[in-house]
């Protein structure tokens, strides 16, 4: 009885183990030998096909497989037309600047040979439909530049005009890039609203692939769009996206040939994949995400740098000392495995590059600067206090809170700890906090740390997509942006000369823009409202058999999925 019970249990265990050992199969689907199928592995399901709503990156990834925008940007920063027949410019009469009102109109001519997967043509009606849905106050969304648009009018089935209330240099990618696609007017349900319509989860395709199946938590299957407007493309028959949360499993899949593409590959994985013959990792030609330290020039908890300046950081010498005390090369080598490139100006990406000399890593100079500024350590506890400093009371301790966000991962947290230590060596004490990005960047009314100025120094990354930095610079450095919830000038930095140059760059005169940008670069280097450290690599590891994959900071790697081929 009992003994037989035990024996049968043991037998069962033995049987199971034996069969597992013997019958372990690589249980991935084996494609038919003549079918061209690739597998992309990502960490989680995209919330939908509409990146404007949640913007996790995964949504843009899948959107690029099935939908088109008016235009897009290639990895080198060149804008090219997708749904547009040609790009409107001042030269070809597509862009008309109105001297009197200061506004401009942009007339787009669309291709006439693009169809939705159900055979309906893609027309200007779809563009108007998309625009109306976006600006709907109840159910819409928000994209950059939308506030400059007064109205969009249809001229004929394949032509429409956008009326801007003022010059907006980013007009070429207004309805394109990684966030905005054109949605089908006859398929999406306007009453459900842009933010929640079902067609964002069951899209109608006009892109190279069509969504066939989505098993949440497991995989998505896309098949070739037979109606795709580019002849002979796409070369692939099916694209399968597998949800694989574990990074090491994705790596193993790439090495074993079970996966063809990994999105946003981390530095550690890149290093591990370097010597694998059947895996390639090609970083994008430019980098977008710049890791930077934000100095709160206003006192913590306040937002007006003039009224309540920060007792420590409002002194330029202190900021310069901090810059001199951080060893960016070591950070890049140790925590980012050499894949982070030091950067020290906002204008480092073509076509707007400016020549600013690289600041030196010099601890002695940093200490000297702090001594000069009136911060010395008289009580021997290793932390400086104010003795004759310009910005704080006598005896004020040089202690601050240093915040970073958790979603990036271990390299950033280690960097934060390392920087705190380095600054500790020159007598600045930093107390570390790691918060969720959602809390850091929330709106002021929701208690967002940045918007409310509840910080001293922050460390996180950002950068602009595309080639035009104007919107980005405006939101981070303009005077308007210093007001809570009006922008991201969390430093509360206001500089009249900079402001003038910035306003002057809202022009279509490229030479003028270049001159303005480089003068602005000089000011930023001198004033140091932010301390730029390095760019983070952007790469998507792929199997050697998958050709034409081009990683880019201007979009997700699927931007040119139509061009991919198999060796």
């Amino acid at each position: 009885m009992l003994r037989s019970k035990n024996v049968s249990l043991v037998l069962l265990v033995v049987l199971i183990t034996a069969s597992l050992l013997g019958c372990q199969s690589n249980a991935t689907s084996v494609p038919a030998s003549d079918e061209k199928n690739i597998t992309i592995v990502i960490a989680e399901d995209p919330p939908s096909f509409n990146p404007i709503i949640a913007d996790t990156g995964y949504d843009a990834l899948v959107m690029e497989l099935v939908m088109l925008g008016l235009s897009d940007i290639d990895p080198d920063g060149n804008i090219f037309p997708e749904l547009a027949a040609e790009l409107p410019t001042a030269e070809n009469g597509g862009v008309v600047y109105d001297e009197a009102t200061g506004g401009m109109t942009v007339t787009w001519k669309m291709r006439q040979d693009v169809q939705w997967a159900d055979g309906e043509p893609v027309t200007a009606d779809d563009v108007i439909f998309t625009y109306d849905a976006i600006v709907n106050p109840e159910t819409g969304g928000w994209i950059p530049g939308i506030d400059y648009i007064d109205r969009v009018e249809k001229v004929d089935d394949y032509t429409f005009t956008v009326y801007y209330t003022s010059v907006y240099p980013g007009y070429l990618t207004q309805f394109g890039r990684e966030q905005v696609a054109i949605w089908p007017a006859h398929y999406c349900d306007a009453s459900q609203g842009f933010a929640a319509w079902d067609c964002a989860r069951q899209p109608l395709s006009d892109g190279p692939f069509v969504l066939k199946e989505w098993v949440n938590g497991d995989h998505m299957t896309f098949v070739r769009n037979e109606n795709y407007f580019e002849d002979g493309k796409p070369a692939l028959d099916t694209v399968t996206i597998r949800i694989v949360p574990d990074q090491s499993v994705r790596k193993t899949m790439l090495i074993n040939g079970d996966a063809d593409l990994d999105m946003w590959t981390t530095e550690a994985m890149i290093a591990d994949l370097q010597n694998q013959p059947n895996v390639s990792v090609d970083p994008s030609p430019t980098n977008r995400w710049v890791m930077r330290i934000f100095f709160n020039l206003a006192e913590k908890g306040t937002t007006d740098a003039a009224a309540t300046p920060h007792p420590i950081l409002s002194d330029l010498k202190v900021r310069q000392a901090i810059r001199a005390a951080i060893d960016v090369d070591t950070i890049s080598k140790e925590f980012f495995l050499g894949y982070a490139k030091p950067v020290w100006t906002e204008f480092f990406r073509p076509p707007y590059t400016c020549d600013i000399s690289r600041p030196k890593f010099d601890i002695a100079a940093a200490s000297a600067l702090l001594d000069e500024a009136g911060w010395t350590d008289t009580d021997g506890d290793g932390v400086r206090e104010c003795h004759g400093c310009a910005t704080a009371e006598e005896g004020y301790k040089m202690e601050m809170e240093f915040i970073t966000y958790s979603e990036f991962g271990e390299p950033l947290e280690l960097t934060q700890q390392f920087i705190a230590e380095q600054l500790g060596k020159i007598g600045i004490q930093l107390n570390l906090t790691v918060v969720e990005g959602s809390v850091l960047w929330a709106a002021a009314t929701d208690g967002g740390i940045e918007q409310n100025g509840n910080f001293d120094m922050d460390l996180w990354d950002d950068g602009y997509a595309g080639i035009d930095p104007t919107d980005f610079i405006y939101s981070y450095y303009s005077e308007t942006s210093a007001t809570p919830d009006m922008g991201y000038n969390f430093m509360r930095w206001i500089n009249a000369q900079f402001e003038e140059l910035l306003n002057g760059s809202y022009t279509l005169d490229e030479a003028q823009r270049q001159r303005n940008f480089c003068e602005m670069a000089q000011i930023l280097d001198q004033e140091l409202p932010q301390l730029l450290l390095f760019t983070v690599v952007n790469a998507d590891a792929h199997s050697a058999r998958l050709q034409n994959v081009r990683s880019t900071t201007n979009d997700l790697v699927t931007w040119n999925a139509a061009d991919w081929t198999l060796k």
């Binding site: 597992l20 690589n26 109840e138 159910t139 949440n216 938590g217 574990d246 969720e436 009314t445």
Partner: protein
């Protein structure tokens, strides 16, 4: 008995309403605000935030929001486009009618999200519990019968150890040993997979499913086996020393019969009650297992929602979880009363 159950059920509903109010207040008083999770984007544009607030009904005062959450707003007029004029009826039905709102992150109905994940959790936890009970019962019985033998002492010691090992650590060690170190002698691949339900959910491959179950189930079950075997052992010992057992033996009944018909049956009663009390584990207790082994279940959904501050999901999971616990307590009481006639007459 019937009135007793009815009374308990009414108390249950009351308790749940109270809990719902507390949880709702708690969640909304958080300074990040219920929209905190939307800031994943570095650029929360204020227009977007305002829009979101109106869309999600967060621009109303808290008590109103609570009311809407409970009973919906499709019976009242709301101002949809923010112009101050009430123009249409709402679309929410409230939780009493099964509408738990929409996830902030995906805008899908909360119940849909939960519905997608719950089967995976139940699949894992029922197998874990079943496995644990199947192992614990024989071990507990043997331990009791061979009290103070080498077997008993070993088991007791392992029991203690098993209850002291943190689940999250055990999972890491399992992955370390069975995935990183041990290799399948035939293929050179890791011996067991380190996560997920299956290598290919589309196809049902029994050995693959079993392989993916081994590590999570072992990790999760160890604590339960330790606990149940110990409990069964002591329960068995209590029973075995009762007079009626001695009487049965004195009457001449064979050893096995006494063991199964009398001792075991009675010793199992407290265990079954314990099992009923532990039912809530099935719903969301395997949080560490699901996270470590990338199991797309309820607890992992909750964890992700906590990181994202996706409050509708958090609230729904907590309320449903609480309902589950209260119900399982009730079931435990009823089962115990049913199985043990002695207490029925109290």
């Amino acid at each position: 008995m019937g009135t007793y159950i009815l009374r308990r059920l009414i108390q249950t509903v009351g308790l749940l309403v109270l809990l719902s109010f507390l949880l709702f207040a708690l969640v909304n008083l958080a300074p990040g605000g219920p929209l905190a999770g939307q800031g994943q984007n570095r650029h929360t544009d204020p227009e977007k935030v305002e829009l979101l607030k109106r869309q999600l009904g967060l621009d109303k005062p808290l008590p109103t929001q609570y009311l809407i959450w409970l009973v919906g707003n499709d019976w009242m007029q709301i101002d949809k486009n923010g112009d101050g004029v009430l123009d249409s009826y709402g679309t929410r039905q409230g939780i009493f009618r099964g509408d738990f709102g929409f996830s902030f992150r995906t805008r899908q109905p909360v119940l849909t999200e939960i519905g997608q994940r719950l089967p995976n959790t139940i699949y894992l936890t029922t197998i874990t519990m079943a496995f644990a009970v199947l192992i614990a019962i024989p071990i507990g019985i043997l331990s009791a019968i061979r009290q103070y033998s080498a077997f008993d002492i070993t088991v007791t010691t392992f029991s203690f150890a098993g209850q002291a090992i943190p689940e999250f650590w055990l999972g890491l060690i399992m992955i370390l040993v069975f995935y990183a170190w041990l290799k399948n002698p035939f293929t050179g691949d890791p011996l067991l997979p380190s996560g997920g339900i299956a290598a290919n959910l589309g196809r049902f491959d029994l050995w693959d499913r079993v392989a993916h179950l081994i590590l999570p189930v072992l990790t999760g079950a160890l604590g339960w086996i330790a606990w149940y075997s110990r409990f069964l052992r002591s329960s068995m010992l209590d029973v075995v020393h009762q007079d009626y057992i001695r009487t049965a033996r004195a009457k001449g009944l064979p050893y096995g019969v006494v063991l199964y018909k009398h001792a075991l049956r009675n010793a199992l009663i407290p265990l079954i009650t314990l099992l009923a009390l532990d039912l809530p584990y099935i719903f969301g207790g395997a949080i560490f297992i699901e996270i470590l082994f990338s199991w797309p279940g309820m607890a992992r959904l909750y964890y992700q929602a906590a990181l994202d501050r996706d409050y509708p999901i958090l609230l729904a999971v907590l309320i449903i979880g609480a309902a589950f616990i209260i119900l399982s307590n009730l079931i435990a009481d009823i089962v115990y009363a049913y199985l043990d006639p002695r207490i029925r007459y109290e």
